[in-house]
């Protein structure tokens, strides 16, 4: 399949269509106090650094939400016929994500393979400061697409 055709398949449909080589994003937003605090509340991260009492930073695990932002742009129809589950989170944190930073994140599908009848997709992502392109987090995400029965993982 030609690159242009593959891109057409992956964009505008489901994440179950994602194919090796697909480029995702970039997406851009400002890391607001609300994002850092609210994500902290939802995950019981009540530490002063996330709640804005100290030098406010965002939980680095928010890079997982950036994956969902990329999916939403590239595959707005959602997961597809069955649920998608998260299998592995792997983040290298290069520096703190300070509240107020303009963020630019992009990703690339680096592998898609089948194991035990399930389709795995690995996406490599980079979260950078948009102003000067500083690398904040490099992230590798592994999901199982079109999940059905015999659960082994547990998230999106």
């Amino acid at each position: 399949m030609a690159d242009s055709e593959r891109k057409t398949v992956a964009t505008g449909r489901y994440t179950s269509d994602l194919t090796e080589g697909d480029e995702l994003g970039p997406v851009e937003y400002t890391m607001s106090r609300f994002i850092a605090r609210e994500y902290g509340h939802a995950n019981e991260l009540h530490h002063p650094c996330f709640q804005g009492l100290d030098d406010a930073i965002a939980p680095p695990t928010l890079v997982h939400i950036d994956k969902l932002r990329l999916y939403k742009v590239a595959c707005p129809a959602g997961a597809g016929p069955s649920a998608r589950i998260h299998y592995e989170f792997d983040a290298t944190i290069h520096e703190p994500i300070r509240v107020g930073t303009r963020i630019r994140t992009r990703g690339r599908v680096t592998q898609r393979y089948t194991r035990n009848g399930r389709d795995y997709v690995i996406t490599d992502m980079q979260m950078r400061a948009a102003d000067d392109d500083r690398l904040l987090i490099s992230y590798r995400d592994t999901v199982i697409l079109s999940f059905k029965a015999q659960a082994s993982g547990a998230s999106r």
Binding site: S32, N43, C49, A83, A149
Partner: protein, 155 residues
């Protein structure tokens, strides 16, 4: 020797454990609701269509006995344990890898854990810890496994 280099380090084998927490329906829903809420960034909660984490019927249609937790909750509880132990530096530099090896069902009691595998002090006096991290249930069954690297100037 100054204060930065003389402070005691956690030795290999030292274990950190968070208090047990039941994976309630509410905790699962919090992670569902947070996803679109932080993307919208309006200050209001933004909900999303049914998921396997908050809708039993949808979960059953996907072959599950009921809702299961998003793995990122486990990852965040491990992050919280590391920040408890090492302070904000644990969230500002290093690595966190987690793999979700078993589903977590409603009301299953989960404990976030970490064990120091290796600890060295670099030339600048920063302690660099390598840790095994995991979440287990109250029967000791591991549901999430992984590793972390933490850079610390406090211990």
């Amino acid at each position: 020797m100054n204060a930065r280099t003389s402070r005691a380090m956690l030795a290999p084998g030292h274990e950190l454990r968070a208090p047990p927490r039941p994976m309630t329906r509410e905790r699962m829903r919090w992670y569902v609701d947070i996803q679109d809420t932080v993307q919208a960034d309006t200050g209001r909660i933004v909900t999303q269509p049914p998921t396997i984490h908050d809708d039993d019927d949808y979960a059953r249609k996907n072959g599950l006995p009921g809702i299961i937790a998003d793995g990122m909750i486990s990852t965040n509880w491990i992050l919280g344990l590391l920040v408890d132990a090492f302070g904000p530096e644990a969230a500002g530099r290093g690595r966190l890898r987690t793999k979700y090896i078993a589903p977590v069902y409603e009301d299953q009691v989960i404990i976030a854990c970490a064990r120091v595998r290796n600890a060295v002090r670099d030339a600048a006096g920063v302690s660099v810890y390598e840790l095994d991290v995991w979440c287990e249930d109250d029967a000791g069954k591991k549901v999430t496994v992984g590793e972390a690297v933490v850079h610390s100037t406090s211990r």
